[in-house]
Symmetry: C2
């Protein structure tokens, strides 16, 4: 008889849901213009502003994280303006594509995937630039950029420019401080560190970014949202159930955010140690706590690894773009504790024993 | 002691959730690229195509219904092209705003709110036009347009043009047939007739519209979605939980859609009859089954009506735009049966007895 394995979602988003999110989603439907909904909206908004560490505003957009990235680019830069985009993975590549589609002039710094961006990489760009688009946690490679140092180096040369950060897999998982780190805007999504289902995007704007808004578009027009979100409403019908889930999780998460971030770091360290103990090669130069990323050894296909995890109840993910078929990734960004990391480390060892047999 | 009233959501979206939607939302989180998720995605997509009655494609977009409206305008018309937009309520006004923001030349036909559009209204426009933007159920006034007749009259003069319809509060509530009615594209949202939470938009494209696509934008680029949605994936992380809810409700709803539509009509007739029995004046010239809309009599404020319903557990909604403070609306578009309509009709009579006392 086959042993019974419980399902485990080990992907860097969507992730295992926080029980408070599930609880919020099982409530009767709220009308988004009711007082109860407005209260929940304002609670989520204030909590997100605390999490991003901004005195500006966080806007909630009904969409995936990409919607927030697109909205920030379109509303902070005018067509023809020049932005610098270091590209070293699937998500930094997305910044470049969004900026190009928005009519900006894009100067790319192409780096090998897995590497992080260093201040000297930015130094070679001549400018002038209206902005720098950075990826905090490049989860396609598992790399974590020091966006604070990069923003500082960039602004020393281009003090007028805006630094916009994809914090989609870093917020709630790694330390983050919008203005404190010299950043002007950042994007995040509900299905990542905040452990809710996908469908709600968060766009954080520093006070400086709020002053520099060049609104455009209709659905993703941030001026339309700014007009109403401080009253607990949104320009278009919001994914109010996800707003309620966001508020419910934040209530649990915010008071113990430093401990939570330490846990995510510890879990990721344990998984990396298990993989390295098996002789696996690590992809990222500097590791994001959002996901591990290992090269597949010669003779082992991604399909084999995926199936061996699936046979144990677990869903994992492979590589994207140029790393497709070359890597596999494991994430405990979702609802999980220290012992879940030991469990998954043991599963990785069992998978490897099976594949080596 | 106060009697206990159970909460009732009587608004034209969000609405009372279908139990199959709540059940789907309480499942463990799916990863959107897993085989299970792709299967659910394809099931929802096929069901939506049956509901819109299209041999073309329905694309699911993570966003509110407005996202689908914006996406259709941006991806079917190029800047500078001329579209005809009859405006007779808040949502037809939205078509005009979206088209203008997308750089189209907009010819408006302004009609008193509450009226419906008639073929003779379209006749006065000289054209030529690349498209006609229509609102099937103008839920701000409770009016239902005969979009089939309008499309026919328009295409007799402009056979090359595209007819795009806001079916946000008509699909699943009123009969609809995309190609059968000579329509080319339509938008809908998850929080309306399909009785799911808000956050997922449906964009239907007829085979003719698919051939005429002029894709633009990044997040709302329909070419990016078309490339992958027939394989059960989406360009950006989808609100997969809502996709699953959509699939689950469709499984129940599609086989008995004609009976469901007849029920919604019957419920709405009962509510109108109750209001007219109290001497209330009806706003729409032709009634959409999505919502009733009554004028507030002299001396009665919207706040009084809202509070009297709230004291009985019910959430209702007032007017928008130029009807703000002048009307109130009741909807049984959500999960409810014939006897719920009797219940709400009695509640309306009790509210009026209280306000008249």
């Amino acid at each position: 008889m086959e042993p019974m394995y419980r399902p485990r979602l080990l992907t860097p988003g969507p992730v295992e849901l926080h029980p408070k999110a599930l609880e919020a989603l099982s409530r009767p439907q709220l009308h988004h213009r009711s007082d109860a909904a407005k209260q929940v909206f304002l609670q989520a908004k204030a909590g997100l502003e605390a999490a991003f560490q901004t005195q500006g505003q966080v806007l909630m957009l009904t969409g995936s994280g990409t919607a927030a990235m697109d909205a920030l680019v379109q509303n902070l830069f005018a067509p023809g303006e020049r932005v610098l985009v270091p590209v070293h993975g699937n998500f930094s590549e997305r910044w470049a594509k969004i900026a190009k589609e928005a009519g900006l002039e894009v100067e790319r710094i192409d780096l090998p995937w897995g590497q992080v961006v260093r201040p000297e990489h930015l130094g070679s760009a001549t400018g002038p630039f209206a902005g720098l688009l950075l990826t905090h946690s490049e989860s396609s490679t598992g790399a974590l950029n020091d966006v604070r140092t990069l923003a500082q180096a960039f602004k020393a040369r281009f003090p007028e420019a805006l630094v916009v950060v994809d914090a989609i897999t870093s917020l709630f998982v790694s330390a983050f401080a919008l203005e404190g780190w010299g950043l002007d805007a950042a994007a995040c999504g509900s299905q990542k560190g905040i452990m809710c289902p996908p469908g709600l995007a968060y766009a954080a704007l520093s006070p400086r970014a709020l002053e520099r808004l060049k609104p455009r578009g209709f659905y993703l027009n941030l001026a339309s949202e700014l007009k109403v979100q401080s009253t607990g409403e949104s320009a278009w019908t919001p994914a109010i159930n996800l707003v309620a889930a966001t508020a419910a999780v934040l209530e649990d998460l915010l008071p113990r955010l430093p401990e939570h971030i330490a846990l995510k770091q510890h879990q990721n360290d344990l998984l990396y140690a298990a993989g390295q103990g098996l002789g696996l090669q690590v992809v990222p130069e500097a590791r994001s706590p959002a996901t591990t990323c290992f090269y597949l050894p010669e003779g082992v296909s991604y399909g084999q690894v995926k199936n061996a995890f699936a046979a144990r109840g677990a869903t994992i993910i492979g590589g994207q773009g140029q790393l497709k078929g070359k890597v596999f990734r494991l994430s405990l960004m979702g609802y999980s504790d220290l012992y879940d990391a030991y469990a998954v480390a043991q599963m990785l060892r069992d998978v490897w024993a099976e594949l080596s047999a």
